[in-house]
Every structure is written in C-alpha cells, then in structure tokens.
Amino acid sequence: MPYITPLMPAYPELFLLVMVCVILVVDLFVSDDNRIVTYALTQFALAGCLAITFLTSSAQPAYTFSGMFVDDLMSDVLKLLVYAGVMMMLVYSRAYVAARGLFRGEFFMLVLFATLGMMIMISANHLLTLYLGLELQALSLYSMVALQRDSAVATEAAMKYFVLGALASGMLLYGMSMLYGATGTLEITRLAEIIFYGVARDVVLVFALVFIVAGLGFKLGAVPFHMWVPDVYHGAPTAVTLFIGSAPKLAAFAFIMRLLVQGLGAERLVEEWQQMLIVMAVLSLAIGNITAIAQTNLKRMLAYSTIGHMGFLLLGILSGDLIGYGAGMFYVVVYVLMNLGSFGMIMVLSRSGFEAENLEDFKGLNARNPWYAFMMLLLMFSMAGVPPTVGFYAKLSVLQAVINAGYVWLAVIAVLFSLIGAFYYLRLVKLMYFDASQDTAPIEPHGDVRMLMSANGLAMLVFGIMPEPLMALCIDSIQASL
C-alpha cells in the first residue's frame, strides 16, 4: 500500500527545522566577532516561515500526518504572531545578550527550537503531538533560563522552572492517559466525536479533566499553580524573561483551545471545566494584582501582573462561546505586545554590568529621555486598561463576554482587581514623570531597537483607537477553526 503524506500544510515547520540544522552547522564556522551572521540567519529563518505561512494560509482546515497535524486559520494567525513576537524579541535583546556573553549560537538555536515547539503545539490535532510540542518548547526554555551559568539566581530559577515544569507535564500526561483510557483515541477531532456521542464513563473523563486543567494552570502560571512565575521572571536573563512572557503565551492559548475547547468541548464537560477555570481566574486576579503592589523589582512586578493577566485570559475562555474565545485571543495578542514593550524597555535602559530592573531605575526617565518615557507610559496605561490604549479594549471585550455568559459577579470582581492593579502601573508612571533621576547615563540603543520600541508603544494607541480589524481577525480565525 503506498503511503503518501501531503506535506504542504507543514511547510513552515519543515522549513524551520531545515534552517535550524543549517544554522547549527554554519554557526560552527563563524568566529565570535562575526556572530551577527547567526543572528541574521535566525531572523531570515523566521522571516521565511512568516512568508510561507502567509502564502499557504487558507480558511479551509487541512489535515496531514494521519490526522495529527492541522493547518487552519487559527493556527496560521497564531503562528504569524509567534514569528513576529520572536523576531521582535531578538531585536530587543541583541545588545543585551551581547553585553552579557550570551550572544552565542546556542542562544539562537534554543530560541528556534522553542519556536518550533510552539508551532507544533499550535498545529497539533493529536494529544501526542500536543505533548511533544510542549516538551520541545519547555526543554528549550529551561536551558535558556540556565544559560547564564555564573549567575546563581538564574540557576536557581532554571532549577525551579525545570522541577515544577516536569511536575506539570506529568499531570498533563496522566490526564491525557486517562482520556485515552476512557475514549480509546488520542486524535482530538475523534476524541470530540466520541465524547459527543457519549462514553460509558463520564467519571473518568472528569477525573482526566482535573489533571489536564491543573497541568494547563501550571503552564499558564495561574493561581494556585503560579509559584514558579515570579522566581523565573526575576531570575532569568531579561532577554529570556521577555521570550518566556511573549510567544509561549500564544502557544498556551492554542493549547487550551485545542484541548479544552475542541477536544473536551462537549456541553456537559464545558460545565465542569468552567467551574475550575472560574476558581483559577478569580484567584489569579486577586493574588496577581495584590501581590504586585508590594514588589520593588520591576521584573517581579511584571511577573505578578502576568498572573493577573492570565486570570483575564481564563475569564475569556470560560465564557464558553465564540465571542469569549475571540476576546481571549485578542487579550493574549495584546498582552504579548505589552510584554514585549515593557521588558524591551528594561533592556533598553540596561547596559553592560547594570540591570535597570528596579522601580527606582525608572525614576526621572522623562528628564533623561521624554520619548521613551512616553512609550513606557503608553505601555503601562495599556496594562492598566486606561481608555485610549488597547488594554482597555481588551479588558472590555473580555468583560462583555463574561457578562454575556451570565457571570455578572465575575465581571465585577475582575473590574475591582483591575482597579487595584492600576495602582502599581501608575506608580511607575509617577516615578518616571515626577521623581528626580539618580542615573544620568545616556540611553543610546541601536537604530532598529529605537524604531521597534516606538512602533511597539504607538501600536498600543493605534490598536486602542481602531481595535476592530484585529478583533475581527481573532473571531474569524476561531470561527473557521472550531
């Protein structure tokens, strides 16, 4: 029997894998002074993936590799955003990693491997590939956190991340094995069909669901599975923190959509996971926003704010309808943009031997450089959800979805905690504009960073004034994929 697999839907993944191998070999022949070649090749690989994904995208879902791989509109849109996020991260972090001796081939290699893992997760239609993609991404991230060997904080963070990540993977895998036991299949579309027509043992399904939601909570960093987030965000080199906080969140969103919504989206199961997500969302909003107030380290503060933002993402998903999923996706995209900008700013202000990671380091930024202070102001306003910026619209659309689903009390709680959260974002704005600067070193990033930072900050305003195209894209892509 001839066995022919259509490879076209998986062209971006194949291209990236080939490029990774090419870069791996080329990097061996490049001297340390010319490491920029590796950097350029990495950017070229990502740009190539971007072009291929864009040119081969279609609204019609295409399956290949015996139903293990799916290429639909949601995967295309999310992949394009992942490439963009990784490329931005590389631009922001180039000077930073070069100053810290991390500008090595392995850094780019691991970034590309993690990206490949994210792409595999986004396009997975099989629990096996979903899990393998997750591991590929996670293993690359663990080692990236530990890449700065001489830093004790980074090593500790990597250790914590690794141990807790392994625990979460174990839980996820246990839940998946129970799903297999209950339904006899690992393919997500088949799984959904079998569950829809009713299986004999709903108890096993619910049991599996508990483990899967716990595993997902770990990966997202939602309370009560959030313990690793502050330490990892704080301990990792800022470039790696930026990476962990950006593109993987898009992949995590895809993971939830594939597993919870597509695989376990039968009505009687939705009720079950809705309850669990409500608990996780409320706790994340509360602990994330309240604990962030007490932080003096900006990276730690942003880590707690991430926990709060993940609460909002869960709110969108637990609404359980198209509007809710669309709002969730919009929120993740906006969150990734804000995250790229704010960690990027930390790297812009850092220089060799100095990390601008404390709140005091931002004092009087307006006097030192009004334009960057204004960009940071836009980013912080967006995180807090102040109206003309896009963060406001993202929060608003999630709240609308929650109210539509009939959870008015949840929306009230979310608004209350956002108000509390606004305090620490605005405190940073106050420090930048009204306090005297202690640091007078000039801020001179490369031209590409300057342009990107301006674009990133202004995007907060542009999307805030015209959110409709992005929102429509999110809702359309999810509609075409469900």
């Binding site: 697999t5 590799f65 293990m68 392995e106 491997f113 590939t129 393998l132 590929l136």
Partner: protein, 201 residues
C-alpha cells in the same frame, strides 16, 4: 493448568524472588546482578504476551546498557554499607504502610468498576507469521512519523542544551589542539646547544 500458564508462573516466581533479592541483598553488586535477572525474566514474560520487540528492547537497552553502567558505577563507588542500613527499623512501619496502601490501590483498580478485568479483555491471538517488530517499524515510519521526528528533535535539543550549559573554556585546562600537536617540528621543541666538554670533578 496448561503449559503456557505453568511457564508464566515459573517466570513470575523467579521474577518476584529476584526482585526481592535486589532489595534485600547486602552486597550492591549482587543486587545489580539480581536486577539483571529480574529484567531477563520480565522480558520472557513479555515474550509470552507476543510482544517480542519489547522483550528484545528490554534486554538490549536495560540489561545491555543501563545495567552495565550501573554495575560499573557500583564497583567504582566505595559504598559504606553500614551507614546505608542505619535506621532501617525506624522506617519499617512507614514502609509497611506504603506497601499496604499500594496493594489496596491495586485491588481497587483491578477489581473496580472503571478499569477492571472485564473492561480490558485479552486481545485475540495473533496469526503465526505475525511480526511485532515489523508492525512497529511500519507504524513508526508511516502513521507516527510526525511524533517520531519531533522526538528526534527533542533529543537534538538535549544535545545542544547539554553542550551549551556545560562547555566552557577553562583557563587552567591542559587541552592541546591536536592539529598543532601533530605539526610540531623538532626545531620548536629541541634546542641543541653546543658547549665545550667539561671535566668532572
């Protein structure tokens, strides 16, 4: 009792005795050797289940590679046995409790409603010429080629990460570049000094 079941019981008995020996023997080398025996017998039981690939893989990978490494390490390390055995009685009640819990859990699972023997009937016997290994190979390279390749990529990540995390140039390293070592000429190393002969006093 058919021939097959009697063989099964014989192997199971050896397996259990060997496993007991692993945890009770005083000498770590004996324990490692008994573990090899346990692996061999479980491979034989797998063979009875018509899973010949798994049986061979177990022998090759665990007995052939892992256990040899284990024995090597055990022989290299000078383990203080008396220290290891300290406080054995203190832990006994806790250990017994854990063992009891495990047995109870096994009974609940195997006899329970959700995953009992009734739910998992024995598969029908396979035809005579059926090759497990061939089937596995066919599936891995056709239907499961995608996850198989991803697993390969994960191993590549492991290599890259291991090198990135551990390799660094040490200043006090005695490493010599082989190319330079080979290209050494006599003139670089040996200096012939001509000096007048001296008288021994």
């Amino acid at each position: 009792m058919t021939f097959q079941t009697s063989v099964f019981y014989a192997f199971s008995a050896i397996l259990i005795l060997a496993a007991l020996g692993v945890i009770t023997s005083r000498n770590p080398v004996h324990a490692a050797l008994l573990l090899v025996l346990a692996f061999f017998t479980s491979a034989a039981i797998w063979m009875q289940l018509q899973a010949e690939f798994l049986a061979i893989a177990l022998v090759l990978v665990y007995v052939g590679a892992v256990m040899v490494l284990f024995l090597f390490v055990v022989m290299m390390l000078d383990i203080n046995l008396a220290r290891l055995r300290e406080g054995f009685l203190n832990y006994l009640p806790l250990g017994a409790l854990v063992a009891l819990l495990l047995v109870a859990e096994m009974i609940i699972i195997l006899g329970g409603r959700y995953a009992g023997f009734a739910d998992m009937p024995a598969p029908p016997p396979l035809p005579a010429g059926y090759s497990n290994t061939k089937e596995l190979g066919r599936l891995v390279y056709t239907e499961y080629v995608y996850p198989f390749e991803i697993a390969a990529v994960i191993l590549l990540v492991a290599i890259v990460a291991a090198i990135a995390l551990t390799l660094r140039r040490r200043k006090q390293s005695k490493y010599i570049d082989p190319a330079r070592q080979i290209n050494v000429r006599r003139e670089d190393r040996v200096r012939i000094v001509s000096m007048p002969s001296e008288k021994r006093d």
